[in-house]
């Protein structure tokens, strides 16, 4: 996921890739078909540390275990409407019983691949395991107080106060077979050799070599067409493209835009607007960014469309607000946003009492997002023309991360927010709630609206709350420099019928291979 740009290194890399391109040019490369026998080979950027979803929450791990493990609900991409939809999975329905109690009904007769039954006790065991493991995912279910077993096929999730996104959150609540989980040695054993109930089952994990899955012949749902998947890891993007060239890979992730033309010679490029939003947040508690006029001036001083077009090669989507396509209440027309207007920016600064401009820090990680260093440089340059003099402080990601979450960041700070369950209240509370991990804002109205959004369980009533919140945050409070969503770019075997989703889950059970 780490894409950075160092001019000399990049130059040499492109030169080497170009050389290989020249060698390949003119000869057609026959990609072997992935028929019944040969597995589909997926090459990601890194190896997972564990296939236990309570432990390793990285996308490289999730892409593997989500083919084997199942949850009460799931998100599935509707390619026609271009939205992610929440669907029933292990549970065929759910309803609210009280503001803080949701009832889930399991499908009857479901089993794990080792024969263990899926029942309400399994739900309780899996929740206890998630919380007890103290892994990376342990805070995901903070809102759930307990799982109450009603009967073998019914369980209640009791939350600590009303929490609207409870059903959505169960898309990340994976079920484990209790007997096997204990026998395998708990999280460490299960994480190396998981058993689930999904469309694929685990075959082998040879450390550093491959992780193999095969179709589950007894799967209760639609059976996958692709019979076997092999996952591998390759951090260098040019090598991932080479693997695609030689037919050693059928699907590669995180293709950088500069290698697209190269990859196109032998493969298809598949893209999706991602859910990862890149933005800069202001410290709204200290001068000069405590003044909303200053924050708005900075938004008017930066031409986001030009950044997307010229620096990101069009592989991003300018976003004027904080909500995302497919989330509840998404209505970009209802917000005004900020047009590029450096003259207005200067006027706003004067109005704010800074006729001679302002000096402030600009912290940003380097090498985290696509061309981030160049984006930062462009922002500094554009803002400078409106009298906003940024001190460019590019640092390594972990350093920025620590600075931000210890509330020590001043001025403006580049960051991103990715999805978990696709509910805005989850992402917004991290940044706009006075008790969130990054509480650089402190606003009673935002807290109040966020509380209502979290607790209102009627979706129809949540829409206006989400829209009111976004309108207030964007057009009045203005806590961010609003930037863009990244694009996910994949290289794929031309015979692979598969559409990527904005969510970084591959869901290869829905893919097919021609020929």
């Amino acid at each position: 996921m780490n894409r950075h740009r160092t001019s000399r290194r990049e130059f040499l890399r492109l030169a080497a890739v170009g050389a290989s391109g020249a060698l390949v040019a003119g000869r057609s490369i026959a990609q072997p078909a992935t028929g019944g026998g040969r597995p589909l080979v997926v090459v990601q950027t890194a190896w997972p540390q564990s296939l236990d979803p309570t432990m390793d929450t990285n996308v490289n791990a999730g892409n593997i275990y989500a083919h084997m493990l199942e949850s009460p609900a799931q998100y599935r991409y509707d390619a026609r409407e271009k939205v992610m939809k929440l669907e029933p999975r292990l549970c065929d329905k759910w309803e609210t019983r009280a503001p803080d109690r949701w009832r889930f009904h399991l499908r009857p007769g479901l089993k794990f691949t080792n024969g263990e039954e899926i029942n309400a006790e399994v739900a309780r065991f899996s929740m206890d395991t998630l919380k007890g493991n103290k892994g990376m995912a342990s805070s995901y279910m903070n809102h759930v107080k307990e799982v109450v077993v009603v009967d073998p096929l019914t369980f209640d999730l009791v939350t600590d106060g009303p929490y609207a996104a409870t059903p959505a959150s169960t898309a990340f609540f994976f079920f484990f077979p209790p007997k096997y989980y204990a026998e395998s040695g708990g999280k460490t054993g299960f994480g190396r050799k998981p058993i689930g109930s999904g469309p694929y089952k685990f075959v082998e994990w040879q450390d550093g070599v491959h992780i193999k899955l095969e179709a589950n012949p007894a799967y209760w749902g639609a059976k996958p067409q692709i019979q076997a998947i092999t996952f591998r890891a390759q951090p260098e993007s040019a090598t991932r493209v080479a693997l695609l060239d030689t037919g050693e890979a059928d699907l590669i992730t995180a293709l950088p835009p500069e290698l697209i033309d190269r990859a196109k010679r032998t493969a298809d490029i598949r893209t999706a607007r991602g859910f990862r939003r890149v933005f800069c947040f202001f410290n709204a508690n200290v001068a000069p960014t405590d003044n909303p006029l200053v924050r708005k001036a900075i938004n008017h001083a930066v031409d986001v469309d030009a950044i997307v077009k010229n620096i990101l090669g069009g592989h991003a989507y300018a976003a004027k607000g904080i909500n995302k396509p497919g989330y509840i209440g998404y209505a970009p027309d209802k917000i005004t946003g900020y047009k590029y207007d450096p003259e207005l920016a200067k006027k706003l600064l004067t109005q704010a009492g800074y006729p001679n401009g302002i000096d402030l820090d600009y912290n940003h990680p380097v090498g985290r997002w696509l061309n981030d260093k160049d984006v930062a440089a462009a922002i500094v340059d554009m803002a400078g023309k409106a009298g906003i003099r940024f001190k460019d402080k590019g640092v390594e990601f972990n350093t920025a991360s620590s600075l931000y979450s210890t509330q020590k960041a001043t001025g403006m700070n580049m960051w991103s927010v990715g999805p978990l369950w696709l509910d805005p209240s989850f992402e917004w509370q991290v940044h706009f709630w006075s008790k969130g991990l990054y509480h650089y804002t402190n606003n009673a109205k935002m807290d109040e609206l966020l509380d209502r959004l979290r607790t209102e369980v009627d979706p129809a009533k949540r829409i206006p709350i989400a829209q009111e919140f976004e309108k207030y945050v964007v057009d009045e409070y203005c806590p961010w420099l609003f930037l863009y969503d990244e694009e996910h770019i994949y290289g794929a075997n031309k015979k692979l019928q598969w559409t990527p989703s904005p969510f970084e889950r591959m869901d290869l059970q829905y893919a097919t291979m021609a020929g």
């Binding site: 540390q49 990376m136 450390d207 030689t246 972990n398 620590s402």
Partner: protein, 306 residues
């Protein structure tokens, strides 16, 4: 000799302790480890406090250091934050890959470098010498990732002799090993040449030649052994670096050695794993240097008695 060994061993242990302490300290240099770990999760400030407590980061620094040290002595460097497995176990799974790569790369380097160095020294000033030294200078100055990508372009994509990347058998090992071998190969060749040239200018070589010995015997028996000392040093150092993980080569070829593993752990903020990897790599480096010190003492008696 025993006194010499004892002294070297003590020095190795002290170095290892110092390195471990630095590694432990480095963890705190990038900032609050718990805050870094939870970045981007829905965690609130209470989660930060809970995790800090669970991981022992809420204790005073000297206590944390003692915990680390007592654990380290017992081979326990904590558990991976992303799998719960012992960090040292995770790293040790990758050591085999690194050792394989380093051994093959060093073998390739030596097999080429020593004959090249000898030939250059024997015919110094000749066209052969100049060509070989020019080639080795080029080899020494080419960026390793560029060489790696070219190797992939030519031998994997074009000729299809080897896989482009990954692991799973000897055929996967060859391209990364050849890439990794290039720099030490060039360096060792130049060093063999220069130290051999030095030795060949000495009086005892003149005496050997005056006695009418064959040139191959003069170089092979009398000169090479005396020219070996600086070469042994460089070979050991280069081998030590390789064992520490050839980060760039491993990254380009997706070779799952400890270099790539450590970089991934850094990106994923899995600090115990990073610590374990660095401690293990430094341990191997120090052990190797200790062995080289012993070898010195054996090769050159003056060293062990000084």
């Amino acid at each position: 000799m025993w006194r010499y060994i004892r002294r070297r061993l003590l020095l190795a242990v002290l170095t290892f302790w110092a390195v471990s302490t630095i590694v432990w300290g480095l963890l705190y240099l990038t900032g609050d480890p718990v805050a870094i770990l939870l970045a981007g999760t829905p965690a609130g400030s209470t989660d930060v406090e809970q995790l800090r407590h669970a991981l022992g980061f809420d204790q005073p620094l000297p206590i944390q250091y003692l915990h680390f040290l007592s654990g380290a002595v017992q081979g326990d460097l904590g558990n991976s934050l992303r799998s719960g497995e012992p960090a040292l176990l995770l790293v040790s799974r990758r050591v085999g890959f690194t050792v394989q790569l380093a051994l093959l790369a060093m073998t390739l380097a030596l097999v080429v470098a020593i004959p090249v160095g000898i030939v250059s020294a024997m015919f110094r000033g000749s066209l052969t010498d100049r060509t070989l030294m020019l080639l080795s200078m080029v080899g020494q100055s080419m960026p390793i990732f560029w060489v790696g990508l070219l190797m992939i372009a030519v031998f994997a994509v074009e000729l299809r002799w080897f896989p482009a990347g990954g692991a799973g058998g000897i055929k996967y090992l060859f391209l990364p090993a050849a890439t990794l071998a290039l720099y030490p190969m060039a360096r060792i060749a130049r060093l063999v040449r220069s130290s051999l040239v030095d030795v060949l200018n000495q009086d005892y070589i003149l005496a050997a030649r005056a006695r009418g010995l064959r040139e191959s015997l003069v170089v092979g028996k009398h000169a090479l052994k005396n020219a070996a000392l600086p070469v042994v040093t460089i070979v050991a150092l280069q081998f030590g670096y390789m064992l520490g993980g050839a980060v760039i080569t491993e990254t380009i070829f997706g070779w799952p050695g400890i270099g790539l593993f450590t970089v991934t752990a850094i990106h994923e903020r899995d600090f115990p794993v990073v610590q374990a990897a660095v401690v293990l790599a430094s341990g191997m480096f120090i052990a190797l240097n200790f062995l080289v010190d012993l070898l010195y003492g054996w090769l050159d008696p003056r060293i062990r008695f000084s």
